[in-house]
């Protein structure tokens, strides 16, 4: 009994230690990147550049937080980039006015209506993904890959070969002005996207650590069958995480069209890959059940500070891509090596313990007094 309890206890603390190392690793990587580039360039840590970094990181981090939710259940969402483009195109189309059927009337929704509808479209895309994955038990990779094409195609259909630019400004007489004033603003000198990132991070952090939903999500990611048997509403949870990624993509869609002041057909391409990279650098496991909001944000900052630094110090644009990719692989490789080492240590400890146990067996039936001194 007590041996089992000890084991449980020590493995528990090991997990904590492991989690600490994984997060520390991302932090160490971040610190190294910042120190290297700051020593090479004076402007790297200037306020202006930090604002630039914060803005770019925020777009990726918001998407990555949504991606974290699906990765926690061991899923993936490849459609987020297309959803960013699609929600941007929906908003742009609404700014152009809605032709009401059967009449000549054109309706111009106010900006908040536009934003709500566009973000809702993003959530709808996620909901469809979720339903297909949860109810029909389809592979997330395939479903969201398909949705990547559908979303991008619909974006192109909506935009019909043009960019929507001027309409986003709105017109005074139509009452749909003020989009840029809100979604491209910088309250207190910090870009709005960074504020939104903080808000989403806090919200998701609460969801993951303080609600049953969060515990269910980790449980499903660790062992879906066990979770289902213990009464976790697996399908419901799975569907909802995809709605959350759709929500994140919708938010970024709005922020990004305000940022570039135009709704374009290519908007959001490859965002899904940057987001996955941020989540993985942040210590999450693609096999599910492991990952934190804090780690993901740090992961996004690692990528952001790295890509920015490469430009600032003037690395050739061709090599920038190579280096970014190599750092991602390195980060994940270090993570894996660490896990292998930990597993070996755990095995060695288990073997040592087993030896001690077997050594004690002949002494008598006093198994109860086993190794309590080690319980620290």
């Amino acid at each position: 009994m007590s041996a089992a309890a000890t084991q449980e206890k020590s493995s528990g603390s090991k997990i904590n230690l492991g989690a600490f190392f994984i997060e520390a690793r991302a932090l160490v990587a971040l610190a190294i990147i910042i120190v290297i580039f700051a020593s090479m360039s004076d402007t790297y840590l200037s306020v202006g550049n930090l604002v630039t970094v914060a803005k770019d990181v925020a777009f990726n981090a918001i998407i990555a937080l949504g991606m974290l939710m699906v990765i926690l259940h061991s899923g993936i969402d490849l459609s987020v980039g297309s959803t960013v483009g699609l929600t941007g195109a929906v908003a742009g189309t609404l700014f152009q006015g809605l032709h009401l059927p059967l009449t000549d009337a054109v309706m111009y929704p106010s900006i908040w209506v536009i934003v709500v509808i566009a973000v809702a479209v993003g959530m709808l895309v996620g909901w469809v993904n979720g339903l297909l994955i949860a109810r029909l038990n389809l592979a997330p990779f395939i479903v969201t890959l398909g949705m990547l094409y559908v979303g991008r195609g619909l974006t192109q259909v909506l935009l019909d070969g043009t960019n929507i630019t001027n309409e986003l400004r709105g017109q005074e007489e139509l009452g749909n002005t003020g989009f840029f004033e809100v979604f491209a603003s910088s309250p207190l000198g910090v870009p709005i996207s960074a504020w939104v990132m903080v808000a989403v991070a806090i919200a998701f952090s609460i969801i993951l650590t303080r609600t049953p939903f969060g515990r269910w999500l980790y449980a499903i990611g660790s062992n879906e069958r066990a979770a289902a048997l213990s009464g976790v509403p697996v399908n419901q949870v799975k569907t909802r995480v995809y709605v959350l990624t759709g929500l994140c993509a919708g938010i970024v869609g709005m922020l990004q069209i305000a940022n570039i002041r135009s709704s374009t057909a290519d908007l959001g391409e490859f965002y899904e890959l940057n987001a996955i990279a941020a989540v993985v650098i942040g210590g999450a496991a693609l096999s599910g059940g492991r990952g934190t909001v804090r780690g993901t944000i740090i992961g996004a900052f690692v990528i952001g500070f790295l890509t920015n630094g490469l430009v600032i110090v003037g690395v050739s644009p061709f090599w920038q891509t190579v280096i970014t990719g190599a750092v991602i692989i390195l980060a994940v490789a270090v993570d894996q090596i660490q896990q292998i080492l930990q597993r070996r240590q755990a095995q060695a400890r288990a073997v040592a313990e087993a030896r001690r146990e077997s050594g004690k067996v002949p002494v008598g039936p006093g198994g109860h007094e086993g190794p309590p001194p080690e319980q620290t």
Partner: protein
């Protein structure tokens, strides 16, 4: 790239479906028959203009037509061309994906007795296509660089935003700029970034370049989208008034930015004229069996878009 081309198939399918309904109008002119229009990327306003001009003219000349898009992917181009050859179309209007990469497939169509006429970009072999109407990007870039250098007062520091490196136009335009700017020793390039023709990437790159070189005087960009991204970044940094930006393509957004004084100039490729001429040659060959053009390769001059003519530009057509 793969993903992009798949997305292109999806849109292509949608485009062709919606076209079959209106294609029935064909068969009334002297030409008649069916032509395949194979373009690059109709989601991009530039090629959308090419496609809509080609569709309009094809209908006028009495052809049924289908539209395909290869997104500069030679594999996808081969697939689309083979489909057209298998359908035994009467002619193909092609915007080729790569000068060398496209030779074999054009040859295959010609071997199948299907005339091919090229528009916008060239292939590096003559004697295959009926005609090649291309826009002279090097000339356009040089012309743009000249007015931009004048706006700069022939001095100061600048950065360059470069398009997708795999696209031939990226180096051609960059070298076109360089050919002019290298004559002015007081102009110094202090940085360059690849922004893949994309507005958002252009904006991000510009923000980062501004962090590094806050005092630059000018920006040259391989296309309008990246230039407009740079304009956003400069505007946000409060430096737009002092920095001269040069675009390329003559898109509607850029024309407006030129009229507003945000861009010094843009360069219009004569896509409308090139499409018209190329399709007319194709029509002639289909009807008479031979073309009357003397020179297969025709490089049409690009047109400079400045404050004077920016307001006359709409959808890549300059009203007279």
């Amino acid at each position: 790239m793969k993903l992009k081309s798949m997305a292109a198939i999806a849109t292509t399918a949608i485009v062709s479906v919606s076209l079959t309904s209106c294609g029935d109008a064909g068969g009334e002119g002297e030409g008649g028959g069916e032509i395949a229009i194979i373009t690059v990327d109709p989601a991009n306003p530039y090629w959308a203009a090419e496609v809509s001009r080609a569709e309009e003219l094809a209908e006028e000349l009495g052809y049924e037509y289908s539209v395909g898009a290869h997104e500069n992917d030679p594999d996808e181009q081969t697939r689309l061309m083979e489909t057209a050859i298998n359908n035994d179309v009467d002619g193909i209007l092609l915007d080729p994906a790569g000068a060398d990469e496209s030779i074999a497939i054009v040859e295959q169509a010609v071997d199948a007795d299907i005339p091919v006429s090229l528009v916008n970009a060239e292939i590096s072999e003559t004697g295959l296509a009926e005609a090649q109407f291309i826009s002279d990007n090097a000339q356009g870039a040089a012309a743009g660089a000249e007015v931009w250098a004048e706006a700069m007062g022939y001095e100061g520091t600048y950065v360059e935003l470069i398009g997708e490196p795999s696209d031939n136009n990226a180096p051609v335009r960059s070298e076109g700029y360089e050919s002019v700017l290298s004559q002015y020793p007081d102009m110094e390039k202090v940085g360059e970034e690849i922004a893949n023709w994309d507005r958002q990437e252009g904006q991000t790159a510009m923000e980062q370049l501004l962090s590094r070189n806050p005092d630059i005087d000018g920006v040259i960009s391989g296309n309008d989208e990246m230039a407009l991204g740079a304009v956003n970044a400069l505007d946000e940094a409060g430096r737009l008034d002092e920095v001269e930006v040069l675009g390329f393509d003559g898109s509607n957004d850029a024309a407006e930015a030129v009229a507003d004084g945000k861009l010094v100039a843009s360069v219009l490729q004569p896509i409308d004229e090139a499409t018209t001429q190329s399709l007319e040659v194709l029509d002639e060959v289909i009807r008479t069996g031979e073309s009357s053009v003397e020179e297969e390769k025709v490089a049409l001059d690009c047109i400079l878009i400045t404050e004077e003519n920016a307001e006359d530009l709409q959808d890549f057509v300059l009203e007279d």
